[in-house]
C-alpha cells in the first residue's frame, strides 16, 4: 500500500523556497494524523547543504538527487527523476508549492503516473482517512473541496502563504539517489534573472501595489520607498502594466499573479473584479484612493480617501518611525 507524505523541496540557486517550509509544517501534522512518514525530495546541483534547513521543519527523510544536469529546472529532467522516485517508493501523497516550477512539474508527474492533481489549493484536511483539498475556482469567486479517492499518489500544489511555517527541528535520515535524468528535450539557451532585493510577489508577506492612479512609471518610486520600509514586494494592476509602467511579472489579478499576503496596500487601484481575483485572499487590505466610490473600498479593511501622492510618503515616514522602535 502506498505510504508517505512527500513534499517537493523546490530550491532556486541554493535556497529552499519558503513555501516548502510551509508545506513541511502542515505535512507534519497530516503525517502524524495518518501515521505516515514525512519526506522531502530535493533535486539540484550541490544541494546537500540544504538538508539541515529542511530538518528544521520536522521532516523524517530527505531524498537527495544531485547532478549537473539538475542545476537548472527542466520539465523533462525533473519529471523523469521525480516520477522514477515515486514509482520506486510509492508515497501516498505528493505536495508541491504552487509556484511556476511546482505547477509545471506537477502536471507532468501527475499524468505520467496517471493520477489526480488539485492545483493552487488553499486548504488541506484529513477526512475519514482521506486528504481533502480546498481550491479557489472562478478566480476566488467560489471554492471546491475535492479529493483523489483511488489513484496514488494524491497530488496537490498549494498556494504560497496558505500555511504557516513552524519550526520543529529534527535530524532527518538522508537517502542519496543516483538519478537517471534521461532525455531532456527542453534545451535552456539563456536565463535572465532580474536581480531584486525584494521578496517574490507570490511569497511576500506584504505587497504594495500601484494602479492607473500612479500616473506614470517614475512614480512607482514612492511605492518602492514604502516597500523598502516594510520589506515588501511591489505589485501593479493591469492598467499600470498595459500602460508599460510595470512589467507583467508584477501584475496582480486574474490574468496576473494570485497573491495571499498578510497585508496588501492598493494605491490608485479602483478594485475591478479581475484585480480582486488576484488578491482577495490577502488577510488585511488597505486602499488609498481619491474616489470614495471606488470598488476597492468594498473589500478594504482600512481605507483612506485621498491623494496617494500626499498619503503614501507620509505613511512611509510614519511606518519608518514605528518599525524603528
Amino acid at each position: 500500500m502506498a505510504k508517505g507524505i512527500w513534499v517537493f523541496a523546490e530550491q532556486r540557486e541554493g535556497q529552499i523556497k519558503k513555501v516548502v517550509f510551509e508545506l513541511l509544517s502542515e505535512g507534519r501534522k497530516v503525517a502524524d494524523q495518518l501515521g505516515e512518514e514525512l519526506c522531502a525530495v530535493l533535486l539540484g546541483k550541490d544541494v546537500a547543504g540544504l538538508v539541515d534547513s529542511l530538518g528544521e521543519y520536522g521532516v523524517d527523510k530527505v531524498y537527495i538527487t544531485e547532478s549537473d544536469g539538475l542545476e537548472n529546472y527542466t520539465t523533462d529532467g525533473y519529471t523523469n527523476v521525480v516520477t522514477d522516485l515515486i514509482k520506486e517508493h510509492q508515497p501516498s501523497v505528493f505536495l508541491l508549492g504552487c509556484t511556476i516550477t511546482g505547477r509545471d512539474l506537477a502536471a507532468q508527474v501527475a499524468q505520467r503516473l496517471e493520477t489526480g492533481l488539485m492545483t493552487d489549493c488553499t486548504g488541506m484536511e484529513v477526512v475519514d482517512g482521506q486528504l481533502v483539498f480546498t481550491r479557489p475556482i472562478y478566480a476566488g469567486k467560489a471554492f471546491v473541496k475535492a479529493s483523489c479517492p483511488e489513484a496514488r499518489p494524491v497530488m496537490a500544489t498549494i498556494r504560497p502563504n496558505t500555511f504557516t511555517a513552524e519550526a520543529k527541528p529534527k535530524t532527518p535520515e538522508t537517502v542519496k539517489v543516483t538519478p537517471d535524468i534521461g532525455n531532456i528535450r527542453q534545451v535552456i539557451k539563456d536565463i535572465v534573472r532580474q536581480v531584486s532585493e525584494r521578496p517574490e510577489l507570490t511569497e511576500a508577506d506584504i505587497i504594495v501595489s500601484g494602479g492607473r492612479g500612479m500616473k506614470g512609471p517614475e512614480n512607482f518610486k514612492i511605492l518602492e520607498e514604502l516597500a523598502d520600509v516594510l520589506g515588501a514586494a511591489v505589485g501593479a494592476s493591469r492598467a499600470a502594466v498595459d500602460a508599460g509602467w510595470a512589467p507583467h511579472s508584477m501584475q496582480v489579478g486574474q490574468t496576473g499573479k494570485t497573491v495571499s499576503p498578510v497585508l496588501y496596500i492598493a494605491c490608485g487601484i479602483s478594485g475591478a473584479i479581475q484585480h480582486l481575483a488576484g488578491m482577495s485572499s490577502a488577510k488585511c487590505i488597505v486602499a488609498i484612493n481619491k474616489d470614495e466610490e471606488a470598488n476597492i473600498f468594498k473589500v478594504a479593511d482600512y481605507g483612506i480617501v485621498g491623494d496617494l501622492f500626499e498619503v503614501v510618503p507620509i505613511l512611509t515616514e510614519e511606518l519608518k518611525k514605528l518599525t524603528a522602535q
Binding site: R103, A107, I137, R185, A277, C284, V286, D301
Partner: protein, 257 residues
C-alpha cells in the same frame, strides 16, 4: 505547417457565481467567452501561419454545444477549421479532458500545439501539459515569445524572478502567458467567412473512447461561496493625519507591520 490550438470556453471574467439547488456552480444564464489565455494561443497560431507563408490552423475544444461560439470566434479571427468534442453529460477532470484531447489529436497531423497556460474558470494549468505527456512530446509552459524554424521552437518563458529561453524539437506543446501578443479582433469579413468554415462535431464514441477510459481521478465533494468581505474603516482626516492613524492601526490593531 499544421498548427493545433486547444481552446476552452470559460465564464466571462465579470460573471457572478451562484450555486444551483444541487449545490453546484450554476451554469445557466452565465455569459461565456474564450479563455483569455487561449486567445493568445489562437493569435500566435495565426501569426505563425502568416510568417511561414503557409499552414493550417485547427482549433479544438472539449465542451458542450455552446462551445461552438468560442470556436467560431477563433474561426472569425482566422483559424481554418474547428473540432468540437462534446462528451455529453459526464463528470470530467483534467485527466479526462486531456485524455480526450490527446486521443483526437493523435488522429491528426500536427507540427505544433498551442494552448493557454491556464483556464481562468476552474482551470488549473495542467490540461495542456498532460496532453503533451500523453502524446509523448515536450512541453514549454508560460511562453511570452515564440520563434519557429528548422523543426524547432525557441520560446521565451516566464520563470520566477526572470525569464529563460528554451529550445524544443517539434512537435511540441507550448502554452501562452500574457505578453505573448495582442490578440486581434475578428473583422466583419472574418465573421462572415467563419460561418462557412468547417466545424467538425464529435462524440466520445466518434473519438474512440468509452466513458470508463476517461473516468476522473479527482472527485469534487462540495462547492461553496466565499464569505463576502466586510468593508472596513475609512480613516477620516487630512492626509497627514489619516496616514499617521493608518500606520498606528496597522501596527496596533491589525498587527501586520
Amino acid at each position: 505547417m499544421k498548427i493545433l490550438v486547444c481552446l476552452k470556453q470559460t465564464f466571462d471574467t465579470e460573471a457572478k457565481i451562484v450555486l444551483d439547488e444541487n449545490g453546484k456552480i450554476e451554469r445557466q444564464g452565465v455569459s461565456l467567452i474564450m479563455n483569455p489565455y487561449d486567445e493568445f494561443a489562437v493569435e500566435e497560431a495565426l501569426r505563425l501561419k502568416e510568417n511561414q507563408g503557409e499552414g493550417e490552423v485547427t482549433v479544438i475544444s472539449v465542451g458542450g454545444q455552446q462551445t461552438q461560439d468560442a470556436l467560431r470566434q477563433a474561426l472569425a479571427m482566422g483559424a481554418d477549421k474547428a473540432v468540437l468534442v462534446d462528451p455529453g453529460d459526464v463528470e470530467l477532470d483534467e485527466y479526462s479532458t486531456a485524455t480526450i484531447l490527446a486521443k483526437v489529436i493523435s488522429g491528426m497531423e500536427y507540427d505544433i500545439i498551442l494552448g493557454g497556460f491556464r483556464a481562468i474558470d476552474d482551470g488549473s494549468a495542467q490540461v495542456a501539459g498532460r496532453v503533451a505527456e500523453i502524446l509523448n512530446i515536450p512541453v514549454v509552459n508560460m511562453i511570452t515569445k515564440l520563434e519557429v524554424a528548422d523543426g524547432k521552437a525557441v520560446a521565451t518563458r516566464e520563470i520566477e524572478g526572470g525569464s529563460e529561453v528554451v529550445e524544443v524539437p517539434l512537435p511540441a506543446v507550448l502554452t501562452a502567458q500574457k505578453g505573448l501578443n495582442e490578440p486581434r479582433y475578428p473583422s466583419m469579413k472574418g465573421i462572415m467567412k467563419a460561418k462557412k468554415k468547417p466545424m467538425q462535431k464529435m462524440t466520445l464514441a466518434d473519438v474512440g473512447l468509452e466513458e470508463g477510459q476517461i473516468a476522473p481521478k479527482v472527485k469534487a465533494i462540495s462547492f461553496s461561496l466565499p464569505e463576502p468581505r466586510k468593508a472596513g474603516k475609512i480613516i477620516p482626516g487630512e492626509p497627514a493625519e489619516a496616514a499617521r492613524e493608518l500606520a498606528r492601526l496597522l501596527r496596533e490593531e491589525a498587527k501586520v507591520v
